[in-house]
Symmetry: C2
Subunit: 347 residues, 2 copies
């Protein structure tokens, strides 16, 4: 079985996905029962489409050489939108363009067009989920389509998988979490003597920083994830303005040093708790002990502590983030979708 | 939609399940789209069946008063096996009788009969998985039935859910884990000055100890979980004899004190790693730092550290174990099954 995929956005996640197909495509087919076939890729410079399948190596080379996939053989500068999607004949849209929280484009437009064409949608970008969660899910319901987005709410941290499959009946009350690698990497570098700017550079080199690092350090990225999770986990329709948000710019080197003295670290923490009418959500720096699940995390490590009525604290952490790990969330969303759709058998 | 359930075994997990239905049955129906209806329960003394549904409160009272559910109104002392299952008209067998690793009965017999009758099976007991994993899955395949068993491999710790839905493509290499609450509770009590016997009593009072605590303290329970996980995660057919096993009886109070002196604890750890031809698996006490994911766990808390190629260490821990939390794994298995079967819609 072939699953035909249209990919929009060819930055760190998109390229990471192409690298995964290059290295592990055949292994995935053996293990999970379907071949992932990229039938079209679009970036800002245009697109390249082949319903028979594109070679990931060719795509990566074209991007490297021409800064756009449309530089590849048969590439079409200027091809985009509905026309692009139709040509790909894809079963699933993978949306991985860079996020913006003003109009959520180009992701929002692509998601709508894809649903309209009867495709399922996997989102690694956050914009359309943050600004249009309800509308998106309503459209999906009408089309009997599915929208998966595990990469949009904490990179590869398995938040949605746990909530969806493992916390059934547990009585979820809220959570606290580290969902942004960049700001915590910056705080750690600063506590070891780096400047704020050096910390940002390190995060960019690791490949975890957003294109615009102010989205990370001012807490926008974490707040956006909180908004999506409020919708997804609690069915509560909040927006960015409903999250109390404080970034890490005000954290000083001396505060970091003082925290280190008693075995603590300052971390950018997302908190959410169910209330009578909705949720209370915040993002801000907190001092945490190294003995604590979140306080013990280093660098770009991510983690979540679910607060439940029947199981107490249920935690999960993850070590590696960045382009390839986030691309892996796209792979898992596609195969989970394929199983839920009955395209491949349950394990 | 009603999902009709036959339950075998009415010990801490079976009673926990009845308590969950009593307290949360209506809430589950609202949240997950199906009503869980117990149509028959069997224990050592007999059974009680009503295809229209049994009242959990009546079952719990009968067990309390007569030590068997067959003491309830319309109860049938002596009713068991295939005849019991047929009368229940159940869609799913929930097997939660106490585990034994000699012949895996009565669980093994019930699982086979249920599959033969076209039922799906949820196992909270380990025996049939440890002794007959391959045969069981082969029978399920032939019947186009499903066998779920998240409660058999570490109580409510979401091991299988993570492996199944979140580690897709991550390149699982192995894991280390705390999968037995009792032995770690005993070690902790001893490090705080209790005797070994007092530690066992505490674990029994919490409700996490196996009926026969030697299964816990000699590492059999942890080794059994390792056997099931070798089969489930790595497709490797090993038995109890293939797991290097050391219990906690040899751990002395002075070793525990010495460990505590440098901020460490002694924990009963399960280790597994993929090898060229299969897996290497062991169970034994290890000294772990309190800064470590597993070393920081207290009392009956359980945890796992998956070792992966693309995501580094992926961890999960859980605070509460015992009858009700394990019963909750049955609830989640039933609803996950219902979604995979299309009985209820995906979330």
């Amino acid at each position: 079985l072939n699953i035909r995929l249209a990919l929009t956005g060819f930055g760190s996640v998109g390229k990471g996905f192409a690298e995964l197909l290059q290295q592990f495509g055949e292994q995935y087919e053996r293990e999970y029962g379907a071949r992932l076939v990229l039938t079209g890729v679009a970036d800002r410079g245009g697109a390249v489409v082949n319903p028979e399948g594109l070679d990931p190596t060719v795509l990566l080379e074209a991007k490297q050489r021409y800064l756009t996939v449309s530089g590849a053989h048969l590439g079409e500068p200027g091809l985009e939108g509905r026309e692009f999607l139709q040509k790909t004949q894809a079963n699933v849209l993978l949306e991985a363009a860079s996020t913006n929280f003003e109009d959520a484009e180009p992701g929002w437009g692509y998601a709508r067009e894809a649903l309209g064409l009867g495709m399922d949608v996997v989102l690694a970008s956050k914009g359309s989920l943050v600004l249009h969660y309800q509308e998106l899910m309503e459209m999906a319901r009408k089309q009997d389509a599915r929208v998966l987005f595990s990469g949009a709410v904490g990179a590869p941290l398995p938040i949605l998988e746990l909530a969806d499959r493992a916390l059934i009946g547990a009585g979820l009350q809220g959570f606290e979490a580290i969902l942004n690698g960049t700001s915590n990497q910056v705080l750690e570098a600063m506590s070891e003597g780096s400047t704020y700017e050096e910390g940002v550079t390190i995060a960019q080199e690791i490949g975890v920083a957003e294109t615009d690092p102010t989205l990370d350090v001012d807490g926008w990225d974490a707040a956006a994830k909180a908004v999506i999770l409020a919708n997804a986990l609690f069915g509560v329709h909040v927006g960015l303005q409903d999250v109390a948000r404080e970034g890490i710019r005000e954290v000083t080197a001396s505060e970091l040093k003082e925290a280190a003295r008693d075995g603590s670290r300052i971390k950018l923490i997302v908190r959410m708790s169910k209330t009578a009418g909705g949720v209370q959500a915040s993002v801000g720096p907190e001092k945490r002990s190294q003995l604590d699940v979140l306080g013990r995390l280093r660098g770009i490590e991510l983690g979540i502590v679910f607060k439940t009525k029947l199981l107490g604290d249920v935690t999960s952490t993850i070590q590696d983030a960045g382009g390839v790990p986030t691309a892996l969330t796209v792979v898992r969303d596609v195969f989970n979708l394929a199983r839920d759709r009955g395209w491949v058998s349950q394990l």
